[in-house]
C-alpha cells in the first residue's frame, strides 16, 4: 500500500474500538512509555508510518540471516529448570531507519494460548538478549528508509528454548 494512502487512512479514523486507544493507529501499535523505554531511542518518521516487517516482502532481515540470530540466543540463553515453564513468548519492538531497536514489549501464554507469567529468569534473559541484538537491517519503502515493527517468537519447553520464529 502506498505510504500516502496509509497516512490518509489514518486521517479517516474518527472513532476507536476496544482494540485501539486514541493514540494508536494500527493493531498492536507500541506507544512510547517513559517508564519502560530507552529515552534515547527515536523513530525516524511519524508514528503512523511504522510498517510491519513483512510489508517490505522481504521478511525478517538480520545480518547473517536467521542462523546468526538463533546462534546468539542458543549461545547466550541458559535453560531454566523449573516446573511448568512451557508456552509461547513474543517480544515485539520497533526497528528504526538506522537499524536501532527500541520499545520492547512482551506477551506470554501457555500452550493453550492463555496468558501466563513465566519465571523471570526466562523472560529477563530473552528480553536482555533481544535488546542486545545489533544486526537489524533498516528497511526501505520506495525511496525512504522507514521504521518497522519486528517481533521474535519463542517456544519454550520446560524452560528450554525450543523454537525461534519468524
Amino acid at each position: 500500500m502506498d505510504l500516502k494512502l496509509l497516512i490518509l487512512l489514518c486521517l479517516f479514523v474518527c472513532c476507536s474500538t476496544s482494540l485501539f486507544s486514541q493514540q494508536t493507529h494500527w493493531v498492536d501499535d507500541i506507544l512510547p512509555d517513559s517508564l519502560l523505554d530507552d529515552p534515547t531511542f527515536r523513530i525516524c518518521n511519524n508514528e503512523d508510518q511504522v510498517i510491519q516487517y513483512f510489508n517490505s516482502g522481504k521478511g525478517m532481515e538480520y545480518e547473517g540471516d536467521k542462523p546468526a540470530l538463533t546462534d546468539i540466543f542458543h549461545k547466550q540463553y541458559k535453560p531454566v529448570t523449573s516446573i511448568g515453564q512451557t508456552g509461547f513468548i513474543r517480544i515485539r519492538f520497533i526497528v528504526n531507519c538506522k537499524g536501532e531497536s527500541g520499545r520492547f514489549r512482551m506477551l506470554c501464554s501457555d500452550l493453550n494460548y492463555l496468558p501466563v507469567q513465566f519465571d523471570t529468569k526466562i523472560t529477563d534473559q530473552l528480553l536482555a538478549i533481544t535488546k542486545s541484538l545489533k544486526g537489524w537491517k533498516p528497511k526501505r519503502w520506495k525511496e525512504t528508509e522507514i521504521d518497522y515493527y519486528q517481533y521474535l517468537f519463542f517456544k519454550i519447553e520446560e524452560g528450554n528454548l525450543a523454537t525461534i520464529l519468524p
Binding site: 474500538t17 494500527w26 513483512f54 521478511g59 540471516d65 520464529l165
Partner: protein, 268 residues
C-alpha cells in the same frame, strides 16, 4: 517468470477461497448472516487489515450477525501477523466454533506456521478428518495440502517415520500434481534417514518443476554423504549461485520447512 506465475496463481486462488459467497447464506435462509456478509463485502476492501476502520467494519458486521465466522477470521488476521497469539486464538476459535469445516484448516495452517504449534495443528487436522473424512483441504495460503502439513508436523514432533509414510502415500496419489515444495520435503526425509537413492530421485524431480538453491543444497549434501565429491562441489556451487540470485525458498512472514541460508550452503 514461472515462479512469479505460480506465486500469483497461489495468491489469487487463496483470495478467491477467502471471499465468502454471501448468497449461500441467503439460500440457507440465514438472512442475518447474509446481511453481515453483504455489509462486510461492500466495506472491508477499503481498509488495511491493521487499521482501526477495518476493525470497525468487522465489529459492525458482527453486530448484524454475531455468528458470522468469516468476520472472526478477518479480525484474527492482523494478530497472527503481529505474532499476537492470544488475540489471534480468541478470534480464530470463534471462527472455528461457527464454521468448523471452513476454519479448522485455517487454524491448523496458521498455528504450525506462526507459532510452531505442531501438536495443535495435528489436533485440528485430525478433528477435521473426523468431521469430514473426504474433505480435501489446503493451507490458508494454498502452499500445502493438509496431508503434507500433517506429515511435516509429525516430522517436527520427532516422528519422521510417520511423516515419511504420510508423504509417500500422499505423493503416490497426487503423483502428477505435487505441491510447490512437496517433492523437496519428501527428499529431505529420505536424506535424513540415509536413503540417498530415493532422496536424489525426488530432489531431481523437484528440480524439474523449479530449481531452488535449497534443492541443490540437499543434493550436494546427498552426494557428499555418498562421497561423490565432483557432484557435491557442482551442486554446492549451483546452490550458492541460485541463492545469490534469489531463487530460493522464501516467505514474507516466516521461515519455511527445509529452508536453507547462505551460511548453511557455505558451511556444507
Amino acid at each position: 517468470m514461472r515462479f512469479v506465475l505460480i506465486s500469483f496463481i497461489c495468491f489469487i486462488s487463496t483470495w478467491l477461497i477467502a471471499q465468502p459467497n454471501c448468497n449461500v447464506y441467503l439460500w440457507n435462509g440465514d438472512t442475518a448472516q447474509y446481511k453481515a456478509c453483504q455489509y462486510l463485502e461492500s466495506n472491508i476492501d477499503k481498509y488495511y487489515q491493521f487499521s482501526k476502520n477495518f476493525h470497525l467494519v468487522i465489529d459492525s458486521a458482527l453486530l448484524i450477525c454475531p455468528r458470522f465466522a468469516y468476520a472472526y477470521r478477518e479480525k484474527a488476521a492482523p494478530f497472527v501477523k503481529s505474532g499476537n497469539f492470544i488475540e489471534w486464538k480468541k478470534n480464530i476459535d470463534l471462527a472455528v466454533t461457527y464454521d468448523s469445516l471452513i476454519y479448522l484448516p485455517v487454524r491448523a495452517s496458521l498455528r504450525y506456521k506462526f507459532f510452531a504449534d505442531y501438536e495443535g495443528a495435528l489436533a485440528d487436522i485430525e478433528m477435521l478428518e473426523r468431521l469430514s473424512p473426504t474433505l480435501v483441504e489446503y493451507t490458508s495460503n494454498g502452499t500445502y495440502h493438509l496431508e503434507v502439513v500433517k506429515a511435516l508436523c509429525y516430522k517436527q514432533t520427532g516422528n519422521s517415520a510417520k511423516a515419511l509414510s504420510i508423504l509417500e502415500k500422499h505423493l503416490l496419489i497426487n503423483k502428477e500434481t505435487p505441491g510447490l515444495y512437496d517433492l523437496l520435503h519428501l527428499a529431505v526425509l529420505y536424506l535424513h534417514t540415509g536413503r540417498y537413492k530415493e532422496a536424489e530421485e525426488f530432489l531431481l524431480l523437484q528440480n524439474k518443476a523449479y530449481e531452488y538453491a535449497d534443492t541443490y543444497f540437499y543434493l550436494a549434501q546427498c552426494y557428499k554423504q555418498q562421497n561423490r565429491m565432483e557432484a557435491y562441489i557442482e551442486c554446492k556451487n549451483k546452490s550458492n549461485h541460485l541463492y545469490k540470485n534469489g531463487q530460493k525458498l522464501t516467505d514474507p512472514y516466516n521461515e519455511l520447512f527445509d529452508q536453507v541460508y547462505l551460511s548453511d550452503i557455505e558451511n556444507l
